[in-house]
Amino acid sequence: AITPPGKNPSLPSKPNPAYSTKEQVTSYEDVTNYNNFYEFGTGKDDPAAYAGDFRTRPWTVAIEGEVQKPQTLGIEDLLKLAGMEERIYRLRCVEGWSMVIPWIGYPLAELIKRAEPTGKAKYVAFETAVQEDTMPGVRRAVLDWPYVEGLRMDEAMHPLTLLAFGLYGEVLPNQNGAPLRIVVPWKYGFKSVKSLVRIRFTEEEPPTSWVKSAAQEYGFYANVNPNVPHPRWSQATERRIGEDGFFSPKRETMLFNGYADEVASLYAGMDLKTNY
């Protein structure tokens, strides 16, 4: 069982073994101190160092675009919207490292259903908060802020796609995307938007921050795929943080990060080399 580290308020949940890996969980220390969250700086230790002043209350999420019921929900309502589950997912970063993280949340589909997307809703765009006074990273134009990522509707509605509010039995630390974030375990980590403030349903593929910045390197689909290398490194292997050390080779990366049984059908007939 996961022992809460006692750093944040606890967030009760029910374990969901059907959607949990039995692999060794990455230490809380590593999960919360080795982060890519460029709004707080591009260094891996920047988010843990600088996210302390980030304001997570009051907090609202706007749902807009191709929906019958556009609405803005407060964090208190979002927390109560569905039953909290604990799911232990693999996380594969596009940079070639990976972790195993016990998330707490519920399927994003629960929220989407409430907004009643129209027939035109083919894609969903997610937007991260921008707080200029608490996010030192947004003063530099490393990316086009606010950070935007997106999914196809079927990806967003997939039962694996999680709206996460916590990890390790407690509410999310700021550096991990408090107070709520998306987790898409079969895609590279950058697809999983942190500190979510806006969900917009669209007919066209939304322009995402990374596609605008470096489309050749970070595509819209970004499915974990050992057979499609990044232009500057192979994606065939990965280093599991805290486990793969100086005296062992990197481990082999699995297609769809090991979730192929669940998600491969979403991409039937698609060329994953061109839709990377």
Partner: protein
């Protein structure tokens, strides 16, 4: 003769030296100065050891060490390139005698950078390394820069200066300029994916300043001769 930095040319004419003291650099006895430079050269290595024993190598120590060795290679290379301008500007002739040491430290950290990649990133797989070099321009230029450093290290001894002759030796060692450019290109391409050129920009500025000084210095000397 264009951009040169031979030992004798810019050395100030011997004046009446105070006989009591041995050679000095910045008022420090040369042997002490050289030992100080040597210890400074070991600083990155010492830093890694201290970080290693205090849990300071981040959650991904391998990635940290590979990158850190690369960073220090570039820093030491730029320091090496700065020695001749510093010598000419300050008139501290003894500086030339630590240039070889600085160059060898560059090769040392480049070797650590390369070996950490071969070991930890590629797990000694020669096909994987060959594939990486052929497929990825940033790996190729980094590899070429490292290869080109080796003959400079090998021929850094007095014996090799004699064997090659001063002119040929100097010609060979001018390779350090393209090596510096390749090393910087290697870093620039690494940074390009994230559109974050802060550190690479600083190194580029320093490299341009150091090479620009050489061009300016050679031009001025030529002008004063004619």
């Amino acid at each position: 003769m264009s951009i040169t930095m031979s030992m004798a040319e810019s050395r100030p004419a011997p004046k009446e030296l105070p006989r009591r003291r041995g050679p000095q650099v910045f008022g420090i006895p040369f042997n002490v100065f050289r030992a100080g430079v040597f210890l400074l050269g070991l600083f990155p290595l010492a830093r890694w050891l201290v970080l290693g024993f205090t849990g300071g190598l981040t959650a991904d120590p391998i990635s940290f060490l590979i990158k850190s060795a690369g960073t220090w290679t570039l820093v030491v290379l730029l320091v090496t390139l700065a020695i001749t301008p510093l010598r000419v500007i300050t008139g501290q002739a003894g500086l030339v005698k630590v240039r070889r040491m600085a160059g060898l430290f560059t090769l040392f950290y480049a070797s650590l950078h390369f070996m950490s990649y071969v070991w930890w990133d590629q797990w000694f797989s020669i096909p994987a390394i060959a594939d990486d070099i052929l497929k990825r321009p940033f790996i190729l230029v980094g590899f070429l820069a490292f290869l080109a450093l080796i003959p400079l290290g090998v021929t850094s001894t007095k014996g090799w200066v004699r064997r090659l002759g001063g002119m040929n030796w100097q010609r060979l060692h001018r390779l350090i300029y393209p090596i510096g450019a390749l090393a910087l290109l290697h870093l620039w391409w690494i940074r390009s994916g994230k559109n974050d050129f802060l550190d690479a920009g600083v190194y580029l500025g320093v490299l341009i300043a150091l090479l620009g000084w050489r061009v300016w210095h050679a031009w001025r000397r030529r002008a004063s001769i004619s």
